[in-house]
């Protein structure tokens, strides 16, 4: 049995390579080949500007279509006096996966966005066969289109240059016209210079409630390189909330894409798409606006996956310390907050959760959970490592025990963790992940966990659109087992993961049947010629059920 491998960045938070204990996880070994030369910076200088503590995101995607995933990381860049974004400082960084190591290719790809980087959304928005990138900034957002691995800033032309403070974003084809639309979660109208203190009068970061919430935005892709803001007509613009996380999925089983938005201190939104294409917030009615106690929580990261293997999408939201991370289990038309019985509540109360991802780490057929933690209050001076250290918290990995129950493993990372992105970085069949740390190095974790058996990864292609089928659902049946997975790059916190449906099969090697529900709601069945491989399926090549 092998181990989970952590590769921390070249520079640790105290700036002293090799002087501290390497980060560890129970199943860990070091693997220096995946080191990323990246240091997240915010420009913090003791002025307590809210953007300083929100961190950044990571995206894992195959930017150059060479069959392996590359890595893109956002970086901060603040004018410490005014709290406004600055362009004179660190930029976002892009790393190309070259034969088993990440090489800095920021300059040659054109992805060195100078804004104050928050979230990343990845998708082939122009249907030309390669993946484009939307950068959600504190400041003006940016949209980059990809041509053979080189990116061009199309912000102006596309109409996607939102200003203010965007957090997470996700591409989705909400109207089924074959073009990827865009949802952008918006946080607060931040104003620098407001002084906030703790109960004893010591300066501290203001909470989000001090600033006005911003309505989220939905953009329709016209298919000609431009987008139309449809927030108002779609109903999305009616929501009030300080949004940090978003996931697009079919919440009510009508084969239309819905949206779940995690808000920081406000009721969450579940935008359910109606027959006429408009969205109505049904979060309260379906039991996912508040926690079980009817309280709003500080929603950060969010995911929608079948965590209890009953065929329905469950929701999981990470929260502030003193709150639980919340597990909303799918129960017919509604959801139930079953955080307590799941084992996910108690362990999370002391910690502030941000990034999260659901991956079958040990390939036993059940989705495990990754949660990245790191505090947000108490103030730190970047010059003083000791005070900064107080923000560092252990991250969590929850093993899925089946039946909606989880068991925790915590691991100690070097940083104040925020975004998490997943993909099979080393192409060995299981999911690995990257943690984006605040004011610190990014960490690449290579999964070599004690694996339970076989696997199958499915990539779904839309030939007419020349792109992968983001938003498709893949169902694998065999040996009395039925497993559902979504193909989605979004979810989590500020991050974007690889779009693949990965199935852990355990010891199952028998005959299997694969069904794909395409983003427009149509369905096809495919043969499974073998396992322990990546299976490519194309729309039109299967049979109608």
């Amino acid at each position: 049995m092998t181990a989970l491998t952590l590769v921390a960045g070249a520079v640790s938070f105290c700036g002293c390579v090799g002087e501290q204990e390497p980060p560890t996880l129970e199943w860990a070994r070091a693997a220096p080949e995946w080191v990323v030369d990246f240091q997240h910076e915010t420009g913090a200088a003791g002025r307590f500007h809210l953007p300083e503590i929100m961190g950044g995101g990571a995206a894992l995607f195959d930017a150059d279509a060479d069959g392996d995933v590359d890595l893109y990381l956002t970086n901060g860049n603040l004018d410490s006096e005014t709290g406004t974004p600055s362009t004179a400082g660190p930029r976002n960084a892009f790393f190309r996966n070259e034969a088993g190591r990440f090489v800095d290719a920021t300059e040659e790809t054109g992805l060195g966005d100078p804004g104050y980087g928050m979230g990343l959304a990845v998708g082939d928005a122009d249907n030309d066969g390669d993946l484009d990138v939307y950068v959600a900034n504190y400041g003006q957002d940016r949209f980059y289109t990809n041509q053979d691995g080189v990116f061009t800033d199309q912000t102006q032309r596309s109409g996607l240059g939102l200003d203010g403070w965007s957090s997470s974003a996700t591409f989705l084809d909400f109207d089924g016209d074959g073009w990827l639309d865009l949802f952008v979660a918006r946080y607060v109208a931040y104003v620098g210079g407001k002084r906030c203190t703790d109960a004893a009068g010591r300066d501290d970061y203001c909470g989000p409630a001090v600033f006005a919430p911003q309505p989220d935005r939905l953009f329709h892709n016209r298919g000609d390189g431009t987008f139309q803001d449809v927030s108002e007509v779609s109903g999305i613009g009616r929501g009030i909330g300080r949004a940090l996380g978003v996931v697009a999925f079919d919440a009510n089983g009508d084969r239309k894409i819905d949206l779940y938005v995690a808000n920081d201190g406000d009721a969450n939104h579940l935008w359910v798409q109606q027959a006429d294409g408009r969205f109505v917030d049904e979060a309260l009615l379906r039991g996912v606006a508040y926690n079980l106690a009817g309280e709003t929580e500080a929603g950060m990261g969010v995911l929608a996956e079948d965590l209890d293997a009953d065929g329905g999408w469950d929701l999981f939201v990470t929260h502030l310390s003193s709150e639980t991370n919340t597990y909303y289990r799918h129960a017919g038309a509604t959801y139930r907050d079953l955080s307590g019985p799941s084992g996910l509540a108690g362990e999370s109360i002391p910690f502030t959760g941000f990034g999260t991802a659901a991956v079958d780490l040990d390939l036993d057929g059940a989705l495990d959970l990754i949660v990245a933690n790191g505090r947000v209050s108490g103030g730190f001076d970047t010059e003083a490592g000791s005070s900064r250290q107080r923000f560092v918290e252990p991250n969590h990995l929850f093993r899925n025990l089946g039946g909606g129950r989880f068991s925790p493993l915590s691991w100690h990372s070097a940083g104040i963790s925020r975004g998490v992105a997943t993909a099979d970085i080393d192409n060995d069949g299981d999911d690995d992940w990257v943690v984006a740390n605040l004011e610190g190095p990014a960490e690449v974790w290579i999964n070599e966990s004690p694996q339970q058996g076989h696997w199958l990864a499915v990539r779904a292609h839309l030939p007419q659109a020349h792109r992968e089928a983001d938003g498709a659902v893949v169902i694998l049946e065999g040996d009395g087992r039925r497993t559902v997975r979504r193909i989605d790059r979004g979810g989590g916190y500020l991050s974007s993961s690889d779009a693949v449906a990965r199935f852990g099969l355990g010891s199952d090697t028998g005959a299997m049947r694969l069904t794909v529900i395409w983003p427009d709601g149509s369905e096809e069945v495919f043969d499974v010629p073998g396992i322990d491989r990546v299976l490519q399926v194309s729309r039109g090549a299967g049979t109608r059920p």
């Binding site: 129970e26 109208a189 104003v191 407001k194 203190t197 703790d198 109960a199 004893a200 009068g201 010591r202 300066d203 006005a212 919430p213 309505p215 613009g237 009616r238 929501g239 009030i240 009721a267 309260l284 009615l285 379906r286 039991g287 606006a289 508040y290 079980l292 106690a293 009817g294 309280e295 709003t296 310390s321 003193s322 639980t324 038309a333 509604t334 907050d337 955080s339 307590g340 019985p341 509540a345 108690g346 362990e347 109360i349 002391p350 910690f351 252990p394 925790p408 493993l409 915590s410 100690h412």
Partner: protein, 392 residues
């Protein structure tokens, strides 16, 4: 594997040891001067004469300013030295529970307190809330039931009882408890939210939708009336943040003199505190001193041009004195800051109505219907405005 729960007993032990013998050293770096002075004075009293009262008084000052672990240790000493330790144990539990690692210790302390005063509804409620927070719903339900039995007027206990019954999938009895809670506080958003889920789970779709609507319109309650907390902790808060809280509480209770006293104390140490100027304006407005109120709202807006409440209250004063154009400007400014706030759209409608601008009224109500599509009142008002407009 690191287990955070290891820290639970440690918190209590460390707290006790830090206070043994003499007053503990407290790091007051960065604290506001009144807080520092209060803590130092209480330490001096304790060093002069150690007793349950002096340990407790220091603990009160510490807890009032968020120094929970230190406060917990000092309360432990107060409880040891006291012949009637119930309140010290109770407060020690609250101090321990303020730290996320101290919840188990807090529950143990509350059980000890309840051995001394078995029917104390507040202690039962506090224990139930901690159990609920720990997802121990069956135990929480039992304690909520005891609290409602010993104090049937304890609204928070009825709501908690409903919530835990909901968690235990006892939908009918959850609705009973929630209806009791909501009859006592019809604006309790969390109560309506739980009721919506309980109705929906029981297949009662229409009541569920109605409850959901009321939850959206309701208010989130930060806490509940606790005379022990108020006497020991709230009354000892001297930082600007705590004084502001005390001023708001006093104002809500109709005690504007005390509210004014607290706000003036804030402004002595922080004259640039926009919220304090606003509160002073609200106090003056409540006393009918509109000129003074307007002056304070102006000052608030000088310090924070985006202060929405000051903009709206200033507009309200202007409206009353017939300066409708000025009111309009301020309301529009508030709307630009928070364009989705229905109360601002309502203010806009009212101002247009006073100005006799029916087209403006219609426009405002159209916006309100967009923001609140489920509001029958908004639709009725829009229809009435349109009818009047057509009649003209």
């Amino acid at each position: 594997m690191k287990s955070p729960s290891i820290a639970v007993p440690a918190l209590l032990v460390v707290g006790v040891l830090c206070c043994a013998g003499v007053a503990p050293e407290i790091d007051t770096t960065g604290m506001e001067p009144p807080v520092r002075e209060l803590i130092e004075a209480r330490r001096a009293d304790l060093n002069a004469a150690a007793s349950a009262e002096t340990w407790g008084a220091l603990a009160d000052a510490l807890l009032a300013h968020g120094l929970n672990p230190e406060a917990a240790g000092c309360y432990a000493h107060a409880a040891e030295l006291s012949d009637e330790p119930f309140e010290w144990l109770y407060l020690q539990a609250l101090a321990a529970a303020g730290d996320v690692a101290g919840m188990d210790a807090a529950m143990t302390l509350l059980r000890r307190a309840l051995e001394l005063q078995p029917d104390h509804a507040l202690a039962e409620l506090r224990l139930a809330l901690l159990l609920q927070r720990s997802a121990r719903h069956e135990e929480a339900r039992e304690w909520f039931e005891l609290a409602t039995r010993h104090d049937p007027d304890l609204q928070r206990a009825w709501r908690g009882l409903g919530q835990t019954r909901l968690a235990l999938a006892r939908h009918a009895s959850a609705i009973d408890a929630l209806e009791r809670a909501l009859s006592a506080d019809p604006e309790d958003a969390a109560g309506w939210s739980a009721a919506a889920q309980a109705y929906a789970a029981g297949g009662q779709d229409e009541p569920a939708r109605d409850a959901a609507r009321r939850a959206r319109r309701g208010r989130e309650r930060a806490g509940f009336g606790d005379p022990i907390w108020d006497r020991h902790v709230l009354q000892n808060g001297v930082s600007a943040a705590r004084l502001f809280e005390r001023a708001q509480r006093a104002l809500a209770a109709g005690d504007s003199a005390t509210a004014r006293e607290h706000v003036e104390a804030i402004l002595r140490s922080r004259p640039q505190a926009a919220d304090a100027h606003y509160l002073l304006g609200a106090i003056e407005a409540g006393a009918g001193n509109e000129r003074e109120a307007g002056r304070h709202f102006e000052r608030t807006l000088e310090l924070n041009p985006d202060h929405v409440r000051a903009l709206l209250d200033w507009a309200s004063l202007a409206q009353r004195s017939g300066r409708l154009d000025e009111a309009q400007t301020r309301i529009e400014r508030a709307q630009a800051i928070t364009p989705l706030d229905p109360s601002i759209v309502l203010a806009l409608a009212e101002n247009r109505q006073r100005a006799g601008d029916l087209a403006g009224v219609i426009q405002a109500y159209e916006r309100l219907v967009e923001l609140r599509p489920g509001s029958d009142a908004a639709r009725r008002n829009l229809a009435e405005a349109r009818r009047l407009f057509d009649e003209r």
